[in-house]
């Protein structure tokens, strides 16, 4: 009941957003845009019924928070290009179908636990196939063309790797905690137990080196470090991991041209304002233009008369900048708060979950979600080098939407089980 009421709030926000964009675009007042909000609410209402039927004890906040992120994303994408918004709404519907399929076919996340190595192999396989036969877009080889539709296997590999790590670490955490031998007063586990984990680090580096995808590489490595810490409670791995990361970054900075350029742009985008630095500079300008309360939805100068946008890839990488331009500091902070609350619910689920696998899974999924949002928003505001990954649930992109809804389904399964047990 609470979930439905929360979804009502989201519906209200969607209605206001769409009405505002529509009015600003057509310069007339019409109720046509309200139908969009109505359809949106109806679709999520059906998903709500599905969740309550399949997982009666699931957390009542996560789905509305995800729906709100989706709504904000759709509103902004609709503002940028109605054609893209139509595609995106189809993807949201497909994502929700995937979400319901997961809930009804898997039912209990613990049924995934025995498939440790199958999951890892599938994830690595997906990435490997992309490396070999993938399509290159904007210098990064991330795409697979399947019958006219482009999918981004990295998004699904992320999901599979979280489940793999949860299952693997649950089983092996004792040996990772025990000191096999001591070096400089620090207890280290036996080398053979570190094998599969070293593989995981190798996968991240492979993604970076071969696919040129800095974002996914950082994301996978971050998830891996966070989950090891959750499994063992030892800071040693975090310190070791960050040390490895620093060494790896140095090597990659000098070895990979693509990364070198990204880094230079981060340090000084104004060195080449019309070429490599253009995207970052325009994003920052857009955020500055928004001020405290923004230009208003649908009223920024992000879209030129003939439909071209000022920020390159604004519907994916730059969506945060466009949002900040139109809703200002207030709207942008609100968006970040929603991510924060989503993570809070996720970590709370991890805290109340009864068994190690559930805890690890909930932590891993939530962390993946939070880190991804941090990497892209941090990139756009030039806090860290810009990496081309999506803002979860908000950015335009089918693979991202579908995989995020599947992750949400898993989180809800963990929460359902945890509350049922209590």
């Amino acid at each position: 009941m609470r979930e439905l009421w929360n979804l009502g709030w989201v519906g209200g926000l969607t209605a206001i957003g769409f009405l505002s964009v529509y009015t600003a675009r057509q310069n007339e007042i019409s109720s046509a845009s309200l139908t969009y909000a109505g359809v949106f609410l109806a679709v999520f209402g059906l998903a709500h019924i599905g969740v309550r039927a399949g997982l009666p004890h699931a957390d009542p906040w996560l789905m509305p928070l995800a729906a709100l992120l989706c709504a904000l994303g759709l509103t902004e994408i609709y503002r940028l290009s109605p054609t893209l918004a139509r595609d995106q709404s189809v993807w949201v519907v497909i994502g929700l179908l995937g979400f319901l399929a997961m809930i009804f076919l898997v039912r209990d996340h613990r049924r995934l636990e025995p498939y440790t190595y199958l999951l890892a192999t599938t994830a690595v396989g997906l990435l490997a196939v992309t490396m070999v036969v993938g399509t290159t877009v904007n210098g990064a080889k991330l795409w697979l063309r399947v019958g006219g539709v482009q999918v981004q296997p990295g998004e699904f590999a992320k999901l599979l790797l979280v489940v793999f790590l949860a299952s693997y670490l649950r089983e092996h955490r004792e040996v990772l905690q025990m000191a096999h031998r001591r070096i400089l007063g620090v207890g280290l586990p036996a080398a053979r137990h570190l094998g599969p984990l070293a593989l995981m680090a190798g996968v991240s580096l492979g993604v970076l080196g071969i696919m040129n995808d800095l974002g996914t590489a950082l994301l996978l490595f971050g998830i891996y470090l966070a989950m090891i810490y959750v499994a063992t409670g030892r800071h040693l791995y975090t310190v070791l991991g960050l040390g490895l990361f620093a060494a790896g970054s140095w090597a990659v900075y000098h070895g990979v041209a693509h990364v070198h350029e990204r880094f230079q742009v981060w340090i000084d985008p104004w060195a080449h304002p019309h070429t490599s630095g253009y995207q970052v500079i325009q994003s920052i300008e857009a955020i500055a233009d928004g001020g405290v309360f923004g230009t208003g939805l649908g009223r920024s100068l992000q879209v030129l008369n003939h439909g071209q946008t000022i920020i390159p890839a604004v519907q994916t990488d730059g969506i945060y900048a466009a949002w900040a331009d139109e809703t200002g500091l207030a709207g942008a902070a609100g968006l970040l708060l929603i991510y924060l609350l989503f993570c809070y619910r996720g970590f709370k689920i991890a805290a109340i979950a009864g068994d190690g696998f559930s805890k690890l899974l909930a932590c891993g999924l939530t962390f993946a979600f939070g880190l991804q949002a941090f990497l892209i928003v941090g990139g756009i505001i030039r806090l860290i080098p810009l990496t081309g990954i999506t803002l979860p649930f908000v950015s335009y992109g089918g693979s991202s939407i579908v995989s995020n809804f599947m992750m949400l389904a898993l989180l809800l399964m963990v929460s359902n089980r945890a509350v049922e047990r209590a």
Partner: protein
């Protein structure tokens, strides 16, 4: 007309967005008041040789923080103690809205002093881990019952 509508929508959007955020935060604030379990898995049991030997004498409880008992109050564990909101108990926590009527029992077990959760609603926690059944206390452990925190000090 269009201008005014857009302004109204802009204001309504921000207000509604923050009201929604506030609704979630209000729920979160309730969580903070009670003891939390950790999301980090607890370290595996230390090998027997490293574990501290069980104390010979019974310990005592020191109040770290409580809405009912004054801070620093020492409670001797010379006998079995029951903590809860009932006034007739050994450790009465009437002012602690998050404690159950009969919340937890402190007793002397085979391996030393133990705390036992009496199926309380909000749970009993030792250093942030929820106790299921009973648990042996080590000197320095902090036991959380509702909003009350008691530090266990072994007898010497």
């Amino acid at each position: 007309m269009v201008e005014q509508l857009l302004l109204a929508l802009k204001v309504a959007f921000v207000v509604l967005l923050y009201l929604f955020v506030w609704r979630v935060i209000r729920v979160a604030s309730r969580d903070i008041a009670v003891g939390q379990e950790s999301m980090v898995l607890t370290p595996a049991k230390r090998p027997a040789a490293l574990a501290t030997p069980p104390p010979r004498r019974r310990g005592r409880l020191v109040v770290v923080q409580s809405p009912e008992l004054p801070e620093g109050t020492e409670i001797d564990m010379s006998r079995e103690l029951v903590a809860g909101r009932d006034a007739a108990l050994d450790i009465p926590l009437g002012a602690d809205g998050y404690a159950s009527g009969r919340h937890a029992r402190f007793a002397h077990g085979q391996d030393g002093d133990v705390v036992e959760d009496l199926r309380s609603t909000n749970g009993t926690f030792v250093n942030g881990d929820r106790v299921s059944g009973r648990r042996v206390l080590q000197s320095g452990d902090v036991v959380t019952i509702g909003q009350t925190q008691l530090e266990y000090r072994a007898g010497g």
